[in-house]
């Protein structure tokens, strides 16, 4: 027994062996009959950053978990060779794995709110890692916790250590997770989609932090669906598709000279200013309706203000939307985008100002008077499942806004489903059985059923993988060209907005800080905040994180948002 422990401890020391930290060949993981990882080979050298990229279901997260012995019950793990910290991991028992986790490799997961215990202060969460691995003597633990929080870029560590996860913002929670991952000074950090739920400026800060760890000699394994994100810090990239590695190589080569069609498609699917006017899925040109001022604006807001308590969620916002136009609204979480959307939908009454729809009063009407006009403006949201009655099947959901006799309803539903590229049999299925992309298609079909003049899209693709996002964006563009619908497109993703929008509003703290043509605003931002946003966007091909802004001198994210 003693020899075993010594071997682990020796290998776990960051400055230990010169060989790879993890070396796995022909890894196969299956759950029952279903093989999710089919022959993956991967080696991570000390101080190296390796990224595994793929869409959901490609097996990338399972791979990351398997490398820490967390594959889960009911799984079978096979490999031609599997060495972790210089030892044969195929013969590891639960005890061996437990000693490695935290000490040898720290894990950072996507959703920090779920990964942290809601009942404990974040300080005690980190102290636990120190206690389990006995890294520092008990007396020095509290001090070390503060050092770790400081190292992870958490401002006011004394205050934060006493807080619980729900009192922190998303970015701070992610930093806390990173602090606990580096607590035992591991040789390797495995980060599974560490920035996916974060705003772009916060994402840039987290990437900087990870890059800093790498510079300090820690190896990184990044799991992501976003090539642009990993491109900024990875040395090597593995592209996974359907459980297999389809391409592997130095980051710059994979990003600039992809050899495999799938990698190529992934790169092409990333929306940006360059992809405007073309389809993301196949690069063909896209017919765009010319926005026309004819007949006046379809939607107009003047001086919209809405307060929650002392906070002004939307503060004096005005805009107009012309027929066939797409207006992008960008801003970070808490900037008032969604409140603005709800005001436009007249689901919320403004405190001041008003909205007109098709030149007629809208927000000042009473609900009873609004109802006949409601079908003219429709909304799709980030999570369509929330907007579906959980008892209903797709056919009934899509039929709900239609005012048609029963006999014609079915035919119209099937027609709408066909328009959004869904097979007929989807009508008789439950949304829960559908994938995220299919659900969003159902939501789009339903919103289009009333032939709206205005379609409000509130983060419609934020929960989707890049390739699925590309399909949904193409679909929206096609439908807009066909029906001439005007769109308000709300997103925190600047690339998406640059791809779809004609004009853009940049929001911060409820106010519009900048407004104008998309190309103009993003190429020559006038407001410092827009400047910061644009600079924080990770871009293809690889740029070094050192170029990214977001150092500790900049305004820090505050808690409680």
């Amino acid at each position: 027994m003693t020899t075993t422990h010594d071997a682990v401890s020796a290998a776990a020391a960051p400055s230990g062996s010169a060989g790879p930290l993890i070396d796995v060949r022909d890894l196969r993981v299956s759950f029952g009959e279903h093989e999710v990882v089919r022959g993956l080979s991967l080696a991570i050298a000390p101080g190296e950053c390796v990224a595994v990229v793929g869409e959901s279901g490609s097996g990338k997260s399972v791979t990351a978990r398997t490398l820490l012995g967390l594959t889960g019950p009911g799984s079978t793990v096979e490999a031609a060779a599997f060495t972790v910290a210089g030892r044969d991991a195929l013969r590891f028992g639960p005890h061996d794995w437990r000693r490695l986790r935290g000490r040898f490799a720290g894990l950072v997961l996507q959703d920090a709110l779920v990964s942290l215990d809601p009942l404990r202060t974040v300080g005690s969460e980190i102290a636990e890692v120190l206690a389990v691995h006995d890294v520092v003597p008990r007396a020095r633990r509290a001090e070390r916790v503060l050092e770790l929080l400081e190292a992870a870029g958490v401002p006011e560590p004394e205050l934060r250590a006493e807080q619980r996860p729900h009192e922190l913002s998303g970015g701070l929670r992610q930093r806390v997770l990173i602090a606990s991952a580096i607590a035992a000074d591991p040789a390797l950090i495995i980060a599974d989609e560490p920035t996916t739920a974060l705003d772009v400026t916060v994402q840039a800060q987290i990437l900087r932090l990870l890059a800093g760890q790498k510079a300090a000699g820690t190896a990184l394994l990044l799991i992501s669906h976003d090539l642009a994100v990993v491109g900024s810090i990875a040395d090597r990239i593995l592209v996974m598709h359907d459980g297999r590695v389809v391409e592997e190589g130095p980051a710059r080569d994979v990003l600039t000279r992809p050899r495999h069609d799938y990698t190529h498609a992934l790169l092409a699917a990333v929306p940006s200013a360059a992809s405007r006017g073309t389809r993301l899925t196949d690069g063909r040109p896209l017919a765009r309706p010319a926005p026309t001022a004819e007949g006046g604006p379809v939607l107009a807001a003047t001086g919209l203000t809405r307060t929650y308590g002392a906070r002004r969620a939307v503060d004096d916002v005005s805009f107009t939307l012309r027929k066939g136009e797409t207006l992008g609204i960008v801003g970070e979480s808490g900037s008032g985008k969604t409140t603005l959307a709800r005001l436009c939908m007249a689901l919320l009454e403004p405190d001041e100002g008003g909205v007109t729809l098709l030149g007629r009063p809208w927000s000042e009407l009473r609900e009873r008077e609004r109802r006949p006009l409601r079908p003219r403006i429709q909304v799709i949201t980030q999570n369509p499942l929330d907007s579906f009655d959980p008892r209903h099947k797709v056919g009934r959901l899509v039929a709900e806004p239609l005012r048609l006799p029963k006999a014609e309803r079915r035919a119209r539903v099937l027609d709408l489903l066909a328009r959004v590229g869904l097979p007929q049999d989807v009508a008789d299925r439950h949304p829960r059985e559908l994938s995220g992309g299919q659900r969003q298609r159902v939501a789009i079909a339903r919103a289009l059923g009333t032939r709206p003049d205005v379609l409000l899209c509130d983060e419609p693709v934020s929960a989707l993988d890049v390739s699925i996002q590309a399909q949904v964006l193409d679909l929206l563009a096609e439908l807009q060209a066909e029906y001439g619908t005007a769109m308000v497109f709300i997103s925190h993703d600047l690339g998406v907005v640059q791809h779809v929008a004609d004009r853009v509003l940049v929001m911060k703290d409820g106010q519009v800080v900048e407004e104008g043509e998309v190309a103009e605003v993003f190429l020559r931002p006038r407001h410092p905040y827009t400047h910061e946003l644009v600079a924080a966007v990770p871009r293809l091909p690889a740029e070094r994180v050192a170029d990214l802004p977001g150092s500790s001198t900049e305004p820090q994210v505050s808690a409680g948002t």
Partner: protein
């Protein structure tokens, strides 16, 4: 008819369980098995009727509270709270004491005593559903308040009802038999389990069977309903989460 039967049954007064009378016979020579079987009709129908009544009014009141303006909701919610502080049986007894004995009154009393259980759950559910994305979405389709309440809110708040009602039915059967035992329910000679127990009390020393079998019937019914209810609860809770 009666003249013909009487001489026969006098032979079997308080006969112990045996080949003639499987569960024995009572102090009037009536077959206990026959009365237990026949009594199911009274006891269970009181339980079912009270439960149906309680569920219906509970759902309507809970929904009304959940959809009402704040002052009305508060008023309703506090009255549910007050009612549920009293033990069900005690509350039912109080109501029967006011309305007087009788099957109908017992059903009414039990139902009223159980209403808060259902109303509170439905009120809480209504709050959740009312704020849900799909109700909001239905508003954006221009559907009326009534259409949304009937089409989306009502069906979606009913989720926990089957489970609650199954367990509630068991409680209602106990309450019904309890009130009958105290002489508030169906009057003798009606065969009702609680009433049978009450009559058997006087002969307990000489004829245990007259009390045992109706008592067993009550116990088994309630245990079965509760077990089924809990099972349903486990299954549904497992599924929805």
């Amino acid at each position: 008819m009666r003249r013909l039967i009487l001489p026969i049954v006098f032979l079997a007064v308080l006969a112990p369980p045996g080949g003639e009378h499987w569960f024995g016979s009572d102090h009037l020579g009536r077959d206990v098995l026959a009365r237990v079987v026949y009594g199911a009709r009274h006891s269970i129908s009181i339980g079912v009727a009270a439960t149906v009544f309680a569920v219906t009014s509970g759902v309507l009141l809970g929904l009304a509270a959940g959809l009402s303006p704040k002052w009305l909701d508060e008023a309703l919610a506090r009255s549910f709270d007050v009612l549920s502080t009293l033990p069900e049986l005690l509350l039912a007894l109080l109501i029967v004491a006011i309305t007087g004995p009788g099957t109908g009154n017992v059903i009414f009393a039990i139902a009223v005593a159980q209403v808060p259980n259902y109303a509170r759950v439905i009120r809480a559910q209504t709050f959740v559903v009312r704020r849900s994305g799909y109700v909001e979405q239905a508003v954006t389709f221009g559907r009326s308040r009534l259409a949304i309440t009937v089409g989306h809110v009502l069906p979606n708040v009913l989720g926990p009802i089957p489970v609650l009602a199954t367990i509630g039915l068991g409680q209602a059967v106990i309450a019904g038999s309890g009130l009958s035992f105290l002489g508030m329910g169906p009057q003798p000679p009606a065969a009702e389990w609680g009433a049978m127990l009450s009559e058997a009390r006087n002969y307990l020393r000489v004829a245990w069977w007259e009390a045992l079998f109706p008592g067993l019937a009550i116990t088994l019914t309630v245990v079965c309903l509760t077990v089924v209810g809990r099972r349903l609860q486990q299954r549904f809770e497992g599924r929805t989460s």
